[in-house]
Amino acid sequence: MKIVTVRRISQIFFLLLLIWFCTVTTLGVEWWRLRGWPVNWLLQLDPLVAVATMLSTNSLYKGLLWALVTVTLTILLGRFFCSWVCPFGAIHHFVGYLAKRGKAVSAKIALNKYHPGQSIKYYLLIFLLTAAAGSLLSSLLRVVPEKPILFSIGVVICLTGFALLSLLRVVTDAKKALATLLFLLALWVGLGLLLPTSSLVAASLQTGLLDPIPLIHRSINLILIPLAERISPIQRYYSGSWFIAVIFLTAVLLNLKVPRFYCRFVCPLGALFGVLSAFSLWRIGVVETSSECSHCHLCDVDCEGACQPAEKIRISECVLCMNCLEGCPHNLVGYRTTISETGEVALPDLSRRGFLVSFLSGAVVIPVVRLGGLVGPNWKSSVIRPPGALAEPDFLSRCLKCGQCMRICPTNIIHPAGLESGLEGLWSPVLNFRIGTSGCQLNCTACSHICPTAAIRPISLEEKLGKGQFSQVGPIRLGTAFVDRGRCLPWAMDRPCIVCQENCPVSPKAIFTREYFSTVREGKFTLVKVAGQRLELADSTLEPGELATGDYFVMTTKNGRQRRWRILENTKNTITLADSIAPNEAPDLDSYLSVQVRLQQPYVDPKLCIGCGICEHECPVSGKRAIRVTAENESRSPGRSMLLPRGT
């Protein structure tokens, strides 16, 4: 079998695997549901996820160890992931192939010429990783004021090292090098003294915006499956998903212009592999000296990486599509451990200036974005995170925006954020209790267990419900429900309702009611006759049966004593009561009586409310709900607590 055939099989396999994993990411007992399928496996194989979260959290979350396999294989084999595993790469590969079809050989060769713009992806990678390393940079800066001794030792070591290197003549231009070193040290001291207490300098994981593996998961989970899914009994919605679709389609359609445009120019994961593959043991190259090579460039015709194998091959651009092996009529291109006979460019083409610009902008972008205060005092109470989500700064240092939690949520309440949680929080999970089939289900912790980076940390049902060893802490609160008394039927419109109270799932209910008898509009009537249960009125203004719902009462006053009688039935001018009025209690004729409606007005007990949003979902005021959950009092942010602490 030809090697490219094997490659195609591998690509199709991983693309189908991804679609399969995304499809089965649903709760249920059937074999095609999430029944131990390793649905995060491709995300875990992605070393950019591992590297970026290592920088942003100083830790490697369990499943991400799989990335080590990819890294090891890349160091041995080169960028095999791009052409053999990456499902997004497979899509680009195929669409690029379709777009190239029918074009002249010369045109194809021209399309696959190396373009200096291919360096952009490395700058993007530096930018994204620096943003992820925010807290690491911040702790480096904090060394200056907080550990001056350590800092001094560091300075001494630097200067001694420099002196040694100069003496050994490793450093040639000692003057310039010393100036640079001193400048850097001064910068360190200066920034260290200026910034250390600032909470703005923090880690923010933004690789997921462009990292192809989270990107393709997000696109399949939130666009393709909801459009195509037939297994789900109810249409799933995702707010603002059009934007994700635009990014996905743009990336795919750019292949019409340049094959693998995304892989060559944008992909930060590809860039990471590019750096890693610089040291790869096996590599593509020309096998023999060019005596036989006629410079026909047929090896370039289907070159996916635009790495120019016949010339000085750019190893970091080579995606190991193996098309050049097939393309060369003289079999001059090979894949082996020695470097190409025509020479090679092992390292990516990076300028010092470009490196500095992307590094500095990566370091500055998060502090600038956080000046808006959305992670601080200007936090948006409409941003309700799933149960188990970490406090906002930690959450943002881990969330990949992969959409796995949004896909698994059985009630479809987890949605990709727009800009409500800030630029950083784009596509991060937020809860929307209007869309979906209910609120956050009490006995469900699915999102916390699927999260590949523990931005939503795995919680047990005991912890979520505040039972067992968690009974002291209490249940996990997502926020608090607030009754909007201007919209609530029993509060504002004299209508009984309390659907919210009925559906409140905690015990005792966080929503309780107080009874209130409200005299209905134009509810004063003149009494003409009393006969047992039957009252006759002077006017015939009632609609027959309108007071017969069981919620209406007549209030009578006799000798200053007020009494209420439940209404059973009514005609135009008579009211039948549930009980007879004893003669000594009968109100005077020609006196007024009031018709009242018994209302149960809902209140929220903030001590009990967990913010699950079921009340908001069920509220019959179906537009802007009359009871709404906002993030106040959420467990994950102690600073947002509304209530007085009552500790023991």
Binding site: L27, G28, V29, P233, I234, Q235, P410, T411, T437, S438, Q441, L442, N443, C444, L489, R495, P496, C497, I498, V499, Q501, E502, N503, C504, P505, V506, S507, P508, K509, T513, G545, A548, T549, G550, D551, R566, L568, A578, Q600, I614, E618, C619, P620, S622
Partner: protein, 329 residues
Amino acid sequence: MNHMMEGTNRRDFLLRLLKGGLTITAACTLSYWLYDGIGPHPGEKQVAKVTLPDFSMPSLRGKMSIVSGLDRVKTINRGLEALGGIETFVKQGDRVLLKVNAAFATPPLLSATTNPQLVGEIARLCYKAGASEVIVTDNPINDPASCFSLTGIEEAAQLAGAKVLLPRQSYFQPTTVTNGVLIRNWPILWEPFQKINRVIGIAPVKDHHRSGASMTMKNWYGLLGGSRNVFHQDIHNIIKELAIMVKPTLVVLDGTTTMITNGPTGGSLGDLKKTGTMIVSTDQVAADAFGATLLGRKPTELPYLAKAEAAGVGTADYESLKPIRIDST
């Protein structure tokens, strides 16, 4: 130039004239065909398309048994036997629908939903009596799939060979209740009723803050679709109309454990009380009237009972049916 003039002259002109003429004709035809001289209507109204048939058996009106005991399998069997056995209600080849209360995604231990063991046993009995198909359905409040799996109803039903139908958008059809004021052109869960000729409602006894109690009549609420929560504004009349709408073969009211407080969701064992009673009846009003006593309430405290009685659904004076009382312990 000359050559082109010659080449395009008559033949090409006629051809172009023909194409142009055809296009104009097509445009005119399309315009005439789609012409709308009035403008759109103010929105289509849903029109009632279906009516639930009467599933009751006239010869078996007003039957009721009350069995005490804590073992549901035992009590339901004794209760049915007292009324002549399941064979009285389910015949060879019958297709039975079990309307359970699966409203909430809570475990069976919390008794907020129909007990799965009870569902399984009734499904098994139906098949034993010769039923050709048993379907279990509900349109729950919480997420349907989670409800059916967490309550254990799905598993119990499937183990007994019954089919569970989760609601889908396409399963709903508008209906109107005769003389109804509230249920008019309102969507109900219709699909599971196709080809069904026996309906058994199975509900637990639960406290319900708005209506007083949720039992077999309130259980039909789970057949409503649409934005059904608006009906809470007139809870007693909607329960009455639901009881008029569904004429079941049989209702089973499970008072083995009663949710005394915090209903209808419950959520804690502290909300429950062992009341050890199973009610089997062909009269849903009588069953619920008795059920109210398990909650420590008088039937007169639940206005919907009187309303349903007045509408001829059944009798709230359950003693008049001379219920057969059995102690299974």
